[in-house]
């Protein structure tokens, strides 16, 4: 094998960093995004290839076998995952990145101790990478379990939770400090254990509908874990790559929190959905709900000029994106103008609805962000809400007493009429009743979203 010097390899890392930056730049437009992804992947390949060609790297069988195992799992996962399960996939990928950072930090700690050369700043980075990586790993696995509904999605809370969490985190840091003082790898592994426990405790009280924020936050943590590992190894490729991911995750976290009109701290520590049960009960009285039939809705839709579809998590759960697209096709054949209104936190991760509708081959020019579609609702004849709840609740704009007051919503109530496809009258995640359902221009079509949409397609075609 060729043996390269560190200088040459550092130059290759610079090339890799440039590829990452250009790749993300290309992700700014759907036309260039795919190329951007390839450019970033090329950067990664360059970084790995040059690292393997370093003079001191000689355990090729060892590295190759580990990479083979990872590649098989990675390829299988990427091929088999359903688009509706993308949040779970991203959660696991975050966790893998975090776990790798922690593993690197602990191994390097052990190596430096053996050589008796452990500078204080490297030690600090090791502690950071171990704790951050560990909590990212277990937190992501728990987020996965919640999204996959292996455990209940509702917040799990107990008295004194935040005190316990803080204590566990303090223990993790303390153990890591002891590891540094005694130069004992066992202590560092114990610190990793505490960080793993903390990651679980951290995600437990966060509910299903807050997952967009959590996944973005864990994304940021996985990047920062990589940065810490980069400081451990004085490696610019890790630092730049990790910093880009950290920035991305942080920005998305803030965007998601803003779209819920809540602070990140409130999402993480608020156990939203748990507190509002009593408030939800208060609002039930007053107003009646009018159920409708697929035939009535089909008439409404077929003779409309403009229809705006507002999809939500219910559409994802029912896997109804393909049927939704077919319904839109049937309407467009009749000359109806159909648009989709996408709320930033609809679904379980940033951009979830866009991916699902893209899978159903809805052209992205038909997908409208909240700010762009809201002015169009007053001109719409029908707003068709498919499995979205809290993001359409007008209480967010007109009821200061509502827990979701101030949250930006899709203003479906501005349309001439509103049809809501919903399984039952159960309140949404926030536990708040949706005033929309009691509105005089709203009718409800109860049932599984997929069944309802299928019936609508048949009924529209019969018109």
């Amino acid at each position: 094998m060729i043996a390269l010097t560190q200088t040459t390899v550092n130059l290759a890392y610079l090339v890799a960093a440039v590829c990452f930056v250009v790749g993300i730049r290309f992700l700014a437009s759907p036309r260039t995004a795919r190329t951007g992804n390839v450019v970033a992947a090329v950067g990664m390949t360059v970084a790995v290839a040059f690292t393997l060609a370093l003079d001191e790297i000689d355990r090729y069988a060892f590295v190759a076998s580990a990479m083979a195992v990872g590649a098989v799992i990675g390829v299988a996962g990427a091929r088999l995952v359903r688009m509706t399960a993308m949040p779970q996939m991203v959660a696991l990928l975050n966790g893998a990145g975090g776990g790798a950072a922690a593993g690197v930090a602990i191994a390097e700690f052990n190596r430096l101790v053996r050589f008796g050369d452990l500078p204080a700043d490297t030690l600090a980075a090791i502690l950071g990478a171990t704790v951050l990586g560990g909590l990212t790993l277990s937190g992501s696995v728990l987020a996965f379990a919640k999204l996959q509904e292996l455990i209940q999605g509702r917040p799990i809370v107990f008295p004194g939770q935040q005190v316990v969490n803080a204590a566990v985190l303090a223990v993790a840091v303390a153990l890591a400090v002891v590891a540094g003082a005694t130069e004992g790898t066992g202590w560092l592994i114990a610190a990793l254990g505490a960080a793993l426990v903390f990651g679980v405790l951290f995600v437990l009280p966060i509910g299903g509908a807050d997952m967009p924020v959590v996944i973005a936050l864990l994304n940021a943590f996985s990047g920062l874990g990589g940065v810490a590992a980069g400081f451990v190894l004085d490696n610019n490729a890790l630092i730049v790559g990790g910093a880009l991911v950290g920035a991305s995750g942080t920005l998305l976290t803030l965007l998601m929190a803003k779209a819920m009109n809540r602070s990140v701290a409130n999402v993480v520590f608020g156990a939203f959905g748990q507190l509002q049960v009593e408030i939800g009960e208060r609002a039930v009285d007053g107003g009646t709900v009018r159920a409708t039939t697929p035939d009535d809705v089909a008439v409404q839709l077929s003779f409309a000029r403009r229809v705006i579809i507002a999809p939500g998590y219910g559409m994802a759960v029912a896997q109804a994106q393909h049927e939704t697209r077919q319904l839109a096709d049937a309407l467009e054949e009749r000359g109806v103008d159909v648009k989709y209104a996408i709320h930033p936190v609809a679904g379980r991760m940033p951009g979830h609805m866009n991916v699902l509708l893209a899978e159903a081959q809805v052209p992205y020019t038909q997908l409208y962000e909240m700010e762009r579609i809201n002015p169009e609702f007053p001109q719409a004849d029908v707003a068709l809400v498919i499995g979205a709840n809290d993001v359409t609740n007008p209480a967010a704009t007109d009821d200061p007493a509502s827990p979701i007051y101030g949250m930006p919503i899709l203003e479906v109530h501005q349309a001439a009429s509103v049809v809501v496809l919903k399984r039952s009258m159960r309140p949404g995640f926030a536990g708040v009743d949706n005033h929309l359902y009691f509105h005089e221009k709203t009718t409800m079509l109860f049932g599984d979203a997929k069944d309802s949409v299928l019936q609508l397609i048949t009924a529209v075609k019969a018109q």
Partner: protein, 99 residues
């Protein structure tokens, strides 16, 4: 603080600012592929794992940790880029772009 640390910090801070400016331009439409794509980039930690475990002389513990780290980072890289590619392939401008 060592000079290396200052240099690393400089690189980190500048890259973070650059990252924020880059990510700002990405539309909501592409936020899911953005997450999975950047996720794959965070798999760059694979380089660290190779450096730690790829040279002979690593102890058993280091080898085990490095092996696990390489596996996890490879899942991150390979899974991340492939799934991002799969998603992005679905985004079409108009109906007739469909196959």
């Amino acid at each position: 603080m060592s000079d290396e640390l200052i240099q690393s910090l400089t690189v980190f801070v500048l890259a973070a600012f650059l990252g924020i400016e880059l990510i700002r331009r990405v539309p909501m439409l592409l936020h899911t592929p953005l997450m999975s794509g950047t996720n794959a980039i965070s798999g760059i930690v694979i380089v660290g794992a190779i450096l730690v475990g790829g040279a002979s002389g690593a102890s058993t513990l280091e080898s085990v940790l490095a092996f696990v780290a390489i596996v996890l980072a490879t899942i991150n890289v390979v899974g991340g880029f492939l799934v991002t590619n799969r998603m992005l392939a679905m985004f079409r401008r108009r109906d007739r772009d469909a196959k």
